[in-house]
C-alpha cells in the first residue's frame, strides 16, 4: 500500500473513531455513567481528522469544550481518555479534568478550555515557545464561531500576525453559538473575513470535506512552519446535535436540524475512497469493527479504574 493510501485510510479511521466514541459517550452519559457535561462533535469529524493529519507529535493543539475529536485525532490514547471523562484515577489528568479539560502533554494536546475564547491567548504563548527556541513546531488553536466575537480572538490574531507566530487559527463554524444562530450574533458572512483586518490570510473551506480541509490545513501549517506567520482557517459545518448532550434544541427550527444531518462527512469520504478503489467493499466495516473493539476495551478500562482518592482533592494546587 502506498503512503498516500495509508494516510487516506488512517484519516477515515480517525473520523469513524471520533464518531463512534462520541456516540458511545452520549449513550453512557444518558445512562448516568459520566459526571458533568459533555459536548460532542458529531458531524464535525472531518475538521479534527483533516487538520490533525497534518501535524506531528511535537506540534501543539489547543481545543475547546467540544474537543474530544481534536484530542483523539491528535493521538490521545483512548483508554486513559475514557477514564478521564469518567473522572477516574487512570485518566490523563488523574480524573481531575473530565471532558472539558482533556489534555495529554505527551501527544501535544495542550488542554481543552471551558472558557469560550480562553485558549486563543494561550496559543500565542505555545507558538511563541516554538519561535523562541528556533523549533519548526507549530500550534493549532481550535475554536468555534462563537469564540470569534470574544475580545481575545481579536487580541490574539493581531499579535500572532505582528510576531509572525507559527500558529493556525482553526475556526469550526457550525453556525451556532450555544443557543444562538450566527445571523443573530455576527454581521459578516464568514469568520474568515475578519482575517484581513489583522493582515493575515483568511480561508474558508467546506468542513464536511476532509480532503479540502486537509489541503487547506497543509498549506496553513506549512506557512507557519517556514516562519510566514499565522492563518485563519475557517471550516464550515453543520452542528448535528445540541450544544451539550441532553440539549433538546427547542430553540432551533427542525428543518435546520434535519438539514444538518443531510451530509455525513464520513459517508462522503468513504464513498470517495471506494470510488477511487482505495478501499474495498469490506474496508469500512473492517474499520468499524476495529473501532468498536477499541472502544469496548476503553469503556471497560474506564469502568474498572478507581475514582480519584480523597487526598487527590488537595494535590497539584501548587508545584
Amino acid at each position: 500500500m502506498t503512503d498516500a493510501r495509508e494516510q487516506q485510510l488512517a484519516i477515515l479511521h480517525s473520523m469513524v473513531r471520533i464518531r463512534r466514541v462520541e456516540e458511545r459517550l452520549s449513550e453512557l452519559f444518558s445512562q448516568g455513567k459520566v459526571p458533568g457535561f459533555i459536548h460532542v462533535s458529531i458531524g464535525q469529524e472531518a475538521i479534527a481528522a483533516g487538520v490533525c493529519s497534518c501535524l506531528g507529535p511535537e506540534d501543539s493543539v489547543l481545543t475547546t469544550h467540544r474537543g474530544h475529536g481534536h484530542a483523539l485525532a491528535k493521538g490521545i490514547g483512548l483508554k486513559r481518555f475514557m477514564a478521564e471523562i469518567y473522572g477516574r484515577r487512570d485518566g490523563f489528568c488523574k480524573g481531575k479534568s473530565g471532558s472539558m479539560h482533556i489534555a495529554d502533554k505527551g501527544v501535544g494536546v495542550v488542554g481543552a478550555n471551558g472558557i469560550v475564547g480562553g485558549g486563543l491567548p494561550i496559543s500565542l504563548g505555545t507558538a511563541l515557545a516554538s519561535q523562541y527556541r528556533g523549533e519548526k513546531t507549530v500550534t493549532v488553536c481550535f475554536f468555534g464561531d462563537g469564540a470569534s466575537n470574544q475580545g481575545t480572538f481579536h487580541e490574539s490574531l493581531n499579535i500572532a500576525a505582528l510576531w509572525s507566530l507559527p500558529l493556525v487559527f482553526c475556526c469550526e463554524n457550525n453556525g451556532w453559538a450555544q443557543f444562538t444562530p450566527q445571523a443573530r450574533y455576527m454581521k459578516v458572512e464568514s469568520v474568515a473575513e475578519r482575517a484581513e483586518g489583522y493582515g493575515i490570510p483568511g480561508v474558508t473551506v467546506d468542513g464536511n470535506d476532509v480532503v479540502r480541509v486537509r489541503e487547506a490545513a497543509l498549506e496553513a501549517v506549512a506557512r507557519a512552519r517556514r516562519g510566514d506567520g499565522p492563518t485563519l482557517l475557517e471550516c464550515k459545518v453543520r452542528r448535528w446535535l445540541g450544544h451539550y448532550v441532553g440539549d433538546a434544541q427547542k430553540y432551533r427550527p427542525p428543518e435546520d436540524v434535519k438539514g444538518a444531518k443531510a451530509l455525513d462527512p464520513i459517508r462522503a469520504y468513504a464513498d470517495q475512497l471506494s470510488a477511487a478503489g482505495a478501499i474495498g467493499p469490506d474496508g469500512l466495516a473492517d474499520i468499524e469493527l476495529r473501532v468498536k473493539a477499541e472502544i469496548d476495551e476503553a469503556v471497560r478500562f474506564a469502568g474498572e479504574s478507581p475514582p480519584a482518592g480523597p487526598e487527590e482533592l488537595f494535590t497539584d494546587v501548587y508545584a
Binding site: F92, V110, G111, I115, S123, L124, G125, D316
Partner: protein, 322 residues
Amino acid sequence: METRYIKAINEALAEEMARDESVFVVGEDVGGAGGAFSATRDLLARFGARRVRDTPISEAAIVGIATGAAIRGLRPVAEIMFADFLALSMDQIVNQLAKVRYMFGGMYAMPVVIRAPCGGGLNAGPQHSQCVEAWFAGVPGLKVVMPATPHDVKGLLKSAIRDDNPVLFLENKALYALKGDVPEGEYLVPIGKAEVKRAGKDVTVVATSRMVHQSLEAAQGLAGEGIDVEILDLRTITPLDKESIFRSVEKTSRLVVAHEAVKAFGIGAEIVAAVCEELPGRLRAPPCRVGAPFVPVPFAQERQYLPDAAGVVRAVKSVMAA
C-alpha cells in the same frame, strides 16, 4: 549599597535573565521604552528582542502569552502596567493560569510572574491607584507577593522568577523612588515568609507594602509614649505566613492590621479571622484594621483617603486602651 526600589527590580530581572535563558519579559512598553516606570530599562539592549517583548495594548493576551509559554517550559515575566489593568486579564489569570496545574492533574508547572504596580499617592485617580491583592488572594493556585523595601523587592522577585508557580508580584508605585540597603551579590528572599521589621512587646501590627513604612513612622512616635510596637511585614499575602503572625500575637496579645487597600473585605479580615479562630481567647483587646474607606480611590482627595501613620497610631491606641 543604597538602591532605589525600582532599580532593585531592574537588577533582579537582569540577574535572573542572565542566569536562566528561559526567562523572558513581555508587556507593554517594556522593550524600547524600558518600561512605563523604567523597571525594564536596558534589558532590551542587553538581552535582545527575543527575550524582551513589547506587546500591543492587550492585557488578556499578555497573560495568555505567559500561560502558553510556561506550559511549554519557558519562564515568562509579564508586566501589566497598572495593577488596575489586571481586571482586563482576569479570565487568563484566574480561570486559566491559576488552574492549569490543578485541572490537568499536575501535568504542567506554571512558572509565571506577573508584575504590576499598585497603590495610590500620585493623584492618578480611581482606575490607576488600586491595591488589588484581595481580588486574588482567594484564588487557589496563585501566589501574591507585596514587597515593601528595595532589599525585599529584589530578593522576592528573584524568588518569584525561580518559583514554579504563578506569582502575582504587586509593587507599590509610591515606593518606586524609595532608597534602601541592597546587598551586593546573590541573595534571595523566600516567598511565604513574613519578617519582623521592628520587634516590640505591646502590640502586633501586621502590615503590607507602603503601610509597613507608615507603621514604622507610627511606631517611632508611639515609642516616645511608652508603647512598644512590633511590626510584622507580611511580604507575601498568599501563602499567608500564619506561623509568624501567631508567634507575634502570642507575644503581644494585641493585633492591628494595616493595609492600603479598602478595609472592607480586605486581607486584614482574613488575618483577624485566622487569629480569632486559631488562637481563641488570646487577644486581650478587640483587633483593629487600618484600611482605606469604602470608596473608589479619589483623584485630588488622596490625603483624606489614604491610610497613614496617624491611622496606625489611632488603631494602636484603641487596642491599647481596651
